[in-house]
Symmetry: C2
Subunit: 498 residues, 2 copies
């Protein structure tokens, strides 16, 4: 079909929506071109094209003008007076594939590629994408092959890297509060000269993603060239994957999933593996906490998920070890971005207050990775990992990486926490037998984490600890009294510890 386009002059509008792309058109133009409020339309300029939703107005923009909201302006650096053209957006063809999947069909590689492409070029709206995401529930609705196709499409529609013949990586499946083992593992492994270009995500359902925690002490957003330089210099990096456009479709899936607060496991496997494939990873250890409050509730689900990981890894020639650990409480003491990175610095500096559970877990996984690669003999990895902490070669490597990224590793006490603090004290003697991971994360989020980097919860007492009346059990950090009150309301109805 020939394209019917009409040109409009840009009027920047000082409105941030944080959601789908939106433009504003005069009602007279709407009437003339047959556009109604809420219609999805294709917006084209220079070499760009994206789908937008149209709002209508009588006054904010005049005929012949198009109001562009701040989100698009910033993303594409559009200037006032530029000419953009609009055209009716036909329903994307991939919608038919989404309908097919919802109706129980099997998707071909071609259909999956069309969905992923329409995702990254915004031809599918958030709502349409939600239908696709929903189609991967329940767990057995996606075949292994479909998950493989999606992994491949996710990886190949973004940046692809090749850092070396052996490229190590670790990945933790979320659900555990704290658990900032990544900076420690990367520092240990890289300190032995192994390439480990680690990308991390920001928090989806947790109180702080590793990228959130690292952003407290260093920039984490880099482009392709910068990262290649950082890895060349230090044989590692600790960066936010989102800035890099590796598996870019995944970012939109995450946005859409945020609303739901739960994630299909097959989607999680695809998301993780696509990023590993894009980063050229050859040896991968996956840290797989299982139990109450984690993503994996029981052994049946765990087994199924591991099988999918192994299937996809094999397809791409990746050597994979999955380490399942029964999760009980949080790992480490700090629940929140700044609090989490403080734990890492305590471990790397071997300070007395370092959380030993965090150290034990990090060295165990670093050890497994060293063995998987063949750098350490069987059963020797963990010992080697500990050595790197004790002789501070891991700390030196950590400083090297952070410096290469333009940051500085502060001392433990130099990391600022949010100013409004509240110590929650025991009103009886006791012992901590259980901790509610879900409630701890929820509490940290109410306090402002992860957006407020310095907000969160410090666990003065942890699993197995004895406490006496009047001792502080945990300390809340937040930026405003309102947030603190909300947190205290929450605590009035939820038990963090038992």
């Amino acid at each position: 079909m020939a394209e019917r386009r009409f040109d409009l002059k840009v009027v920047p509008l000082d409105i941030a929506t944080g959601r789908n792309w939106i433009v504003l058109v005069n009602e007279a133009d709407g009437l003339h071109y047959g556009i109604r409020a809420g219609d999805e339309i294709s917006l084209k300029w220079d070499s760009h094209q994206t789908e937008v939703a149209v709002d209508l107005t009588k006054s904010f923009v005049q005929e012949g003008e198009i109001g562009i909201f701040r989100d698009i302006l910033e993303k594409y650096q559009i200037k006032a007076g530029e000419i953009l053209s609009l055209a009716p957006a036909p329903k994307p063809e991939s919608l038919a594939a989404i309908g097919k999947k919802l109706n129980g069909g099997r998707l071909s590689e071609k259909e999956i590629v069309s969905i992923v492409k329409d995702t990254i070029n915004y031809k599918l709206s958030d709502l349409e994408l939600a239908y696709f995401v929903a189609s991967s529930f329940p767990e057995n609705n996606f075949t292994k092959e479909e998950a493989y196709f999606q992994t491949k499409a996710f990886a190949e529609t973004g940046e692809m890297f090749k850092f070396g013949k052996i490229v190590a990586d670790k990945h933790s499946i979320g659900g555990l509060p704290g658990n900032k083992i990544t900076p420690i593992i990367v520092s240990i492994v890289a300190s032995y000269g192994i390439i480990i270009p680690k990308t991390s995500s920001r928090a989806i359902t947790s109180e702080a993603g590793t990228a959130d925690a690292l952003s407290v002490i260093a920039p984490v957003s880099f482009d392709r060239e910068e990262i290649e330089n950082i890895v060349k210099k230090t044989n590692a990096c600790l960066i936010w994957g989102g800035a890099l456009k590796i598996a870019p479709a995944d970012d939109r899936f995450i946005t859409v999933l945020k609303h739901l607060g739960t994630e299909p496991l097959s989607k999680m496997v695809v998301s993780i593996m696509a990023k590993k494939v894009a980063m050229g990873v050859t040896h991968l250890v996956i840290d797989f906490p299982m139990g109450e409050g984690t993503k994996i509730k029981n052994k049946i689900v765990a087994k199924k998920t591991i099988a999918l990981f192994q299937y996809i890894a094999k397809k791409f020639g990746i050597k994979l070890r999955v380490i399942i650990q029964e999760a009980k409480g949080p790992v480490g003491r700090g629940i929140g971005p700044a609090l989490g990175i403080r734990d890492d610095i305590a471990v790397l500096n071997q300070l007395s207050q370092r959380p030993l559970d965090l150290e034990a877990k990090a060295t165990k996984l670093a050890g497994v990775l060293l063995e998987l690669i063949g750098y350490a003999g069987k059963g020797q990895g963990s010992k080697l990992a500990y050595k790197a902490l004790q002789n501070k070669q891991a700390l030196a490597k950590f400083k090297e990486i952070i410096n290469a990224q333009g940051g500085t590793v502060p001392d433990y006490d130099e990391i600022a926490l949010a100013p409004v603090a509240f110590a929650y004290k025991a009103d009886h003697d006791g012992e901590i037998k259980q901790m509610d991971n879900v409630a701890i994360i929820e509490l940290a989020r109410i306090l402002g984490a992860p957006e407020t980097l310095a907000a969160g919860v410090y666990l003065n007492k942890s699993l197995g600890d004895q406490y006496k009346t009047g001792e502080t059990l945990y300390t809340l950090y937040t930026e405003s009294e309102v947030r603190l009150e909300m947190a205290r309301d929450f605590l009035a109805n939820h038990l963090l510890i038992k």
Copy 2:
């Protein structure tokens, strides 16, 4: 949890979004209250409460002000200077139930009621609702009991009517172009003194819903009292259900489904039956076209859908007959709101140009309904229905109903069609053996139907007709040359008839 609210003064904004509720807040207030662009927040005033998404600005509204977009202003009649309060909206509890369903769980009546309630009070966003809608794919994912609970919740969360001890109704499942049998059936049945308060929908995927067609000649939006008066006076009505708030949750489901362009059949059954329950219907005939281009592709699907209809009807004590008819081409000649109502007027007036297929189908179904109620003996219904057309008692009843609704029944030629017309002529002799329903609907929509009431396609030749070179096969009606060109582009790539 105690509520944290803050009051803001209304500034009306001349922007129509046609989508979710949106308000605009100054960035300084956003920072102060911890609101980010895109956050969902609860908006409260007088006795109202609804969820809104927040956009942020530095300039359009000042601190202490809240910009309200046109959609909310109009719906709630909010005035400049009014004080509204905002509060962080906690995730609605029904989201957990949606997640449970997506993960393959079974929902209790209580959980389904919570979802439906959160739908009508806008606690669930369109995107969140899409997840729930998606969970009723594939077809066997919803149990019959869940569908019953949903039907009940849909009906009971809206207006409920009781027009009499016997209340007749018919319902056509969409998918066929034209097919405006409702005004004819209602006029016939009501002309025998039977109560038949018909509510219709606007087009979802078709070129014109019955409500769209009727709106060409009469108002179709009434409140409860008005409808009760119309039915009292004429023992019937022909109205748009949407204005009435019967099963109001369904409207939001329709909005969300529009994006997808396909509908789970269980959702369709729920939607239909909820409205019948709300209208107090006791005897119901369902017109169920089956075949290419309809919603029901084959007998297996048909059987399953009928079983669900019967299950739910029985639960509510409704006597139900389902009439399955193999669908071939469109029913009638007029594809579009004005063109469709013109067909009805031709049949009711018994004009020579009336489409006989439309007449035959309408009298057949009216006959079944008369028999189901017990007004006509077995096998006598259809004859009685024909009689009402021939002696013009149905026409008189139709005029009575339309007059009671404040409209006038025009003559056939008085119904205006859109000014830009194009006759599509045969370039060879032949016979119409097949018609593509999907392409015909698509064409009518490209021409502007259903929004442009006078737009659409008139089928000068229909299934089985012979044609000669130069004869007009069909005529396009639209409001602008641009639309006509788009339609001609479409025709260059699609065969309507074979």
